[in-house]
């Protein structure tokens, strides 16, 4: 055990002497947590609307003002023709075109039915889907109003109506940042744990000091412990800094018990560092390690449910996600921070991550050879 202490002392000295690592550890969480959630705001709002109003009636004007008053839409322009409006779509100045045909008001009153034409730029599927849905809701509501206004009592029989009320739990204001911040925190912890560990070991390979270590009677697991512990501590530091930033900047205070969070992080870091370690045993140069880590991190992060829900993925992707440690962390972060889940609820996740930690680290230790 004394050997491990010497290794730790050495690692910490090296870390504290390396300004770029320190900068990463201190600055990265702050910058990422401040910029990423600002950038990653998928809330669908400010949809640009181009209106082609052939009717110019009081009804059409009412409808337009209803739409703009909803807060989701911004009136980009009035165009004289649909073709003109399409130009706005092509140049990305408008996302949606609403065409109100000639005689809209008259036909509606006379024939009980009138069409409206909507064209949505659907290159961004999510935005198109939600934007279309919002527009549909507004038109329905407007339709309801008109009907109330026009229907003479007694003309029709009352019809049964199912009234739907909906409420949004855990994030009633639908604040997108609440969704993103815990996820980004998860990414940060992963980056520090995975990247730094693997680069560190490969660096010793590249400069040749690992050879010197290999001729000493040091035990494999001592050496690996000496590498893991410092980055484990750093991971916890980064996580704490991240929690503080999300509290100070976004006012996000974990609803659940921070103890649950920290105990999950403790095990998670072991798993992801085991992964970094494993990668480092396969690589000879830092450039290689960097690319390989980058590749896996990208897959882990994209498929970890940070942006889109895992349950929407096809089966093969969900199978991959089951082997993705990052997806468990992102999930647990959101569970505990936003919903206040307790130890009991995250126990299955914790068990799986502990399994990862054992498998990855044993694999890395087996693969780390002192001889060739």
């Amino acid at each position: 055990m004394r050997t491990v202490l010497f290794l730790l002392q050495k690692e910490f000295r090296q870390i504290f002497r390396n300004k770029s690592i320190l900068a990463i550890i201190m600055v990265m969480p702050v910058v990422q947590l401040i910029i990423m959630p600002l950038a990653a705001d998928y809330e669908v709002k400010n949809i640009n609307l181009a209106v082609v109003d052939h009717d110019h009636s009081s009804y059409s004007r009412q409808l337009i003002s209803k739409i703009t008053a909803s807060g989701y839409f911004r009136l980009a322009d009035y165009s004289a023709t649909f073709k003109e409006a399409m130009k706005f779509i092509e140049s990305d100045h408008a996302d949606v075109v609403l065409e109100i045909p000639h005689g809209f008001e008259k036909k509606l009153i006379r024939e009980d039915e009138q069409q409206l034409f909507i064209a949505v730029n659907a290159i961004n599927g999510t935005k198109a889907n939600l934007g279309g849905a919002y527009l549909g809701q507004i038109i329905r509501a407007y339709n309801q109003d008109i009907r109330l206004e026009l229907v003479q009592p007694g003309r029709i029989n009352p019809i049964p109506v199912i009234e739907i009320t909906s409420s949004n739990w855990f994030n009633p204001l639908m604040n997108y940042k609440f969704f993103m911040v815990p996820g980004i925190l998860a990414i940060l912890v992963t980056m520090v744990g995975g990247f730094l560990t693997s680069l560190n070991i490969v660096r010793e390979k590249e400069i040749g000091t690992i050879e010197q270590i290999n001729v000493t009677p040091i035990r494999k697991h001592h050496f690996i412990l000496g590498k893991l512990i410092p980055f484990w501590i750093l991971g916890n530091v980064v996580f704490t800094v991240g929690l503080l930033v999300s509290w100070l900047v976004y006012g996000i205070v974990p609803v659940g018990n921070p103890g649950v969070l920290y105990s999950f992080i403790a095990v998670y870091l072991l798993a992801i560092m085991g992964f970094g370690l494993l990668v480092s045993t396969f690589c000879e140069t830092q450039q290689q390690a960097m690319f390989i880590m980058f590749f896996f991190m990208m897959v882990f992060i994209l498929m970890g449910g940070l942006f889109t829900p895992i349950e929407s993925m096809p089966d093969w992707a969900r199978a991959i996600a089951a082997f993705n440690p990052v997806s468990y962390l992102i999930n647990v972060m959101r569970l505990v921070i936003l919903k206040g889940s307790g130890f009991r609820e995250i126990l299955p996740h914790l068990g799986i991550i502990a399994g990862f930690a054992v498998v990855l680290n044993s694999w890395a230790i087996l693969n780390y050879k002192k001889t060739t």
């Binding site: 949505v120 026009l150 049964p160 929407s312």
Partner: protein, 368 residues
């Protein structure tokens, strides 16, 4: 000229020898296309739902059967009350719940009005909105079936057309983005690192004292990456046409020309970084933090620029990938011609020239 080809050959050897890196370079776009194309979607299907049915009457049962039959939802289990819904939400698997109050049928059929409640886990706001929408539409369908024989007066029927991407696939949005990202990665990072590596190992000095012009030394380092990048563009386009069924609507030569322009921009950027840095690690950090991250953030394909605060929107303008992304989107998906993208092209050319000028200047200073 033979000297020049000798240099380029040497660079190719470097690139082709490192199999692991090469595998990543070519595997990356493929994997990204597959992930973005199939895995990343907000589509609602087989979403787990819990139902608290306090009514247990014919209408609520009929609605539940309808939900069960839809491909959007999968009923997880029946729960008794709100309290239990919260517990289920905290386990994280279920994101939406439906609550029928007691006397649901009676209210509906006798008072013509009954309430149901949709409870959504809004941790993911967009997903919650989508789930609520889908569930509402099932309920509305049921209602209109009830009223089949009744004519409703004064109906406004919106007819919605989804332009460019009628099936609302994710691919349309990200294929151009993946192209920008991969080119950025290959050109900027690889070029910067490979030049700095020569500086670190000292071979750069050997090259610089050779009778070969220093500028050509640098250029010869860039050419293999130009070719690699074009191969990547090709493979991305093939994948998107044949695997994702995303046709190239505009002119292919124009698309390739614009891609070459963007590759040159990136290479210049990589060269500039390599001139300014001394170690591989610094070059990596700068390329990763300073280039790749902003590209992901500000090119507009992953994160919507229009939702960002104004300062970030302004910053996004200096990111070359943003302009390239717009260009690819216009040519490939909207099928527009050069007249629609000349402005973006001009901006890219401007950025490239600027980078080239300052690289040349700092390179000369280093030599002097």
């Amino acid at each position: 000229m033979t000297q020049f080809t000798t240099f380029i050959k040497k660079e190719f050897y470097h690139v082709l020898r490192d199999r692991k890196t090469l595998l990543i370079l070519f595997g990356m776009p493929v994997v990204q296309i597959l992930i973005f194309g199939f895995a990343l979607t907000n589509e609602v299907k087989n979403s787990k739902i819990v139902i608290a049915d306090e009514a247990k009457d014919e209408v609520s049962t009929a609605i539940i059967r309808k939900i069960e039959a839809s491909r959007y939802f999968e009923i997880e289990k029946a729960v008794a009350n709100r309290q239990q819904i919260e517990t289920v939400f905290k386990e994280g698997k279920v994101k939406v719940a439906l609550l029928f109050p007691a006397n649901f049928s009676k209210d509906l059929l006798h008072q013509n009005k009954a309430q149901v409640q949709i409870l959504a886990d809004a941790t993911d706001p967009n997903h919650a909105t989508a789930l609520t929408n889908y569930l509402s539409s099932i309920l509305q369908d049921y209602q209109s079936e009830l009223n089949e024989n009744q004519a409703i007066p004064y109906r406004i029927v919106p007819e919605t057309r989804m332009l460019y991407n009628p099936q609302l696939k994710g691919a349309h949005n990200f294929v151009p983005g993946v192209m920008a990202l991969v080119l950025m990665l290959v050109c900027v990072m690889m070029t910067a690192i490979s030049i700095v590596k020569e500086k670190e190992t000292g071979t750069m000095e050997v090259l610089l004292v050779s009778p070969f012009k220093p500028v050509l030394v640098i250029l010869s380092k860039a050419i293999p990456y130009l070719i690699l990048s074009l191969v990547n563009v090709g493979s991305i386009l093939l994948l998107s046409v044949f695997v994702l069924d995303l046709p190239i609507n505009g002119s292919l030569p124009l698309l390739l020309a614009e891609s070459t322009l963007f590759i040159i921009t990136c290479l210049t950027l990589g060269i500039f970084i390599s001139i300014k840095t001394a170690s591989q690690q610094t070059a990596m950090l700068i390329s990763l933090m300073g280039m790749l991250l902003p590209t992901m953030l500000f090119s507009g394909f992953m994160f919507p620029i229009e939702n960002m605060p104004i300062p970030l929107q302004v910053i996004s303008n200096i990111i070359p990938a943003k302009w390239y992304y717009l260009i690819v989107k216009d040519i490939m998906i909207k099928g527009l011609g050069f007249e629609a993208i000349w402005k973006e092209t001009l901006i890219l050319v401007g950025i490239t020239l600027f980078l080239f000028a300052i690289s040349l200047k700092s390179f000369k200073i280093r030599l002097a």
